[in-house]
């Protein structure tokens, strides 16, 4: 069946008693794109992916995969997809080779094809030499690679990835991101759920932001950023700033908020050009020496914060100051939705 959209969700809803985990969401994923599903913990990301892949039955609404309804044409829909869940669900008691071969058998692939495909994937993932070893001795990153290899066994059209890089070391994250980009370049449609805003911003063609079970926005990362022009800022650092610098900078014309982050000041504004000029005047009049001055556009994180109301910082209600720490807390505190 030819279809423009590889994934289509129509009024997809999941209720657990009175709790509405996913609330009538609608979206489409185009062929060949990397579609990011971004949201805070408990927003409904994993619940959505579980409905799209047939693990969970929706309370209301439908989802189609390459034109096949996941509930009514289950087998045809499932033939089109590969799934990498948030947990590397490999068979620890089996070897890497046996894991892939068993996956091939689940897809009823002929023996010669599943063996050649398993060999190809293990070589591609750098695990061929260790194919006879039981997976339980593998590192987390290696298990993740096995899990992705299992999802690719059937040469599917769509790959669902639920938090693919979560909890991995930097090297494994880079390998997996690179792999996702390569697979996408080969024509595979990728549906990626993540709470890592930077990852979504760098990798995705389009991003849907989900919060409390509802889709808050869907667009390309750049277009989403343009929707929050109010969050533009000027970042400035002085060689020796006075103790009152923050207070004085806040009072400059067109500065809506000023925040000190390390040795830098960040001035939020609607009008970066005029703030640049007034900052320069402030520097001259106070005999200060500038180290650096930059204008900074809104990030996807700003969009995320604005749309979801999630504020990574908790101290002094300052969302700029503790952004890095906040993100780290989000990583550590992430739980299965």
């Amino acid at each position: 069946m030819q279809t423009e959209h590889t994934i289509e969700a129509l009024d997809l809803t999941k209720k657990y008693g009175d709790l509405v985990a996913v609330d009538h969401i609608n979206f489409t994923v185009k062929k060949g794109e990397i579609f990011g599903f971004l949201g805070p913990n408990g927003a409904g990301k994993t619940t959505t992916i579980r409905m799209l892949t047939g693990i969970s039955i929706p309370t209301e609404g439908t989802a189609t995969i390459m034109g096949h309804d996941i509930q009514r044409q289950t087998i045809k829909a499932k033939e089109q997809m590969g799934i990498v869940p948030d947990v590397s669900n490999v068979y620890n008691e089996l070897s890497a080779w046996e894991n892939l071969i068993f996956t091939g058998r689940l897809y009823d692939m002929p023996k010669a094809f599943r063996e050649s495909r398993a060999e190809e994937l293990l070589k591609m993932f750098g695990l061929y030499e260790r194919r006879r070893e039981e997976v339980q001795g593998f590192s987390r990153g290696m298990k993740r690679r096995i899990c992705i290899a299992m999802a690719l066994m059937n040469k599917s059209s769509i790959l669902f990835l639920d938090e693919p890089t979560s909890g991995l070391d930097v090297q494994s994250v880079l390998i997996i991101r690179d792999l996702i980009q390569k697979l996408n370049q080969q024509g595979l449609t990728i549906f990626l759920t993540t709470h890592n805003i930077e990852e979504a911003s760098q990798m995705c063609d389009r991003v849907a932001i989900i919060n409390r079970g509802k889709i808050a926005a869907i667009n390309t990362p750049e277009k989403l950023k343009r929707t929050v022009k109010s969050l533009q800022s000027v970042e400035v650092a002085f060689e020796a700033a006075s103790a009152d610098a923050l207070k004085e900078l806040k009072e400059l014309p067109n500065v809506s908020e000023a925040v000190k982050t390390g040795d830098k000041f960040r001035l939020l504004t609607h009008d970066p050009a005029s703030v640049l000029a007034s900052t320069w005047n402030y520097t001259q009049s106070n005999n200060l020496k500038l180290i650096t001055i930059n204008t900074i556009g809104p990030s996807l994180e700003d969009v995320f914060v604005k749309l979801t109301g999630i504020r990574p910082a908790t101290e002094n209600d300052n969302r700029w100051a503790d952004r890095r720490g906040g993100r780290q807390r989000m990583d550590e505190g992430r739980k299965k939705e």
């Binding site: 693990i55 499932k78 947990v87 058998r105 689940l106 009823d108």
Partner: protein, 252 residues
């Protein structure tokens, strides 16, 4: 027609692949050995030692008990373990029906049950001069009972839980009382009338009766009723197992 047979062939191959994987992965797990092997043999020994009845007459009981416990133990070991590490989701996302997934799981229990119950048959023939007088009844007993009890285990495994113990406990609440009304310790003939009426509803009664009949003994209800009841239970357990697992998917 060709499409239907191709579909069925595919489903059968995948079900067999699931059964083989379960056999390779779970047969030697401690809960499988504990509840499937140690449990029936220990129960048998604790109740048979010191009784006046000759051991040869008790071989059908041991056959039935091993079939009962071994077949019904695999599903409750496999499915909660797979839920815990989310490998059960692999089946749910594969292009195969839920029926074939559960048939694959049932098959793993069937082969385990038959494999273990062959041990008392060999012991009976080798050491107690037991004789198989009706091989057809023995095959019917082993096949129908192992399928039925394995399906019963799969049905109980639909209880949400991520460790075998969470399923084994409610399962044993059913399995152990069944021993008392199924002619294991007291022959059905000697049970009070209410006990006899109750024993007809226990699938284990019919397994013991068929095993006894196959080894030259008598049956209280007759082999045809035994076969009919076991067939009915097999269908009911399979049907209920699928229903419960679908209900779980709705709750997921």
């Amino acid at each position: 027609m060709k499409e239907a047979s191709s579909y069925l062939g595919r489903e059968a191959r995948v079900a067999w692949a699931i059964a083989l994987k379960d056999m390779q992965t779970y047969y030697t797990r401690p809960p499988s050995l504990m509840f499937g092997v140690l449990f029936p043999f220990s129960l048998f020994l604790s109740f048979s030692i010191g009784r006046n009845a000759p051991l040869a007459q008790q071989i059908p009981i041991l056959i039935a008990q091993t079939l009962f416990f071994a077949s019904s133990s695999i599903g409750p070991v496999v499915i909660p373990s797979e839920r815990a590490n989310q490998t059960f989701d692999r089946f749910l996302t594969s292009p195969v029906s839920l029926l074939s997934i559960l048939i694959g799981k049932t098959l793993a229990g069937v082969i385990f049950g038959i494999g273990i119950s062959i041990i008392p048959i060999i012991i009976g023939i080798a050491f107690f001069r037991s004789q198989i007088t009706n091989i057809g009844a023995l095959i019917a007993c082993m096949v129908l009972s192992s399928v039925g009890f394995s399906a019963m285990g799969i049905m109980f495994a639909s209880i949400p839980g991520q460790s075998p113990g969470q399923v084994m406990m409610p399962l044993n609440f059913v399995r152990i009382p069944l021993l008392f009304i199924s002619g294991v310790y007291t022959p059905v003939r000697e049970l009070p009338s209410w006990g006899q009426a109750g024993s007809i509803f226990s699938p284990l009664t019919h397994t013991i009766e068929l095993a006894r009949y196959a080894l030259g003994g008598e049956t209280f209800f007759g082999p045809f009723l035994n076969i009919a009841v076991l067939t009915m239970y097999t269908a009911v357990f399979l049907f209920m197992g699928i229903r419960f697992h679908v209900m779980n998917q709705r709750k997921e």
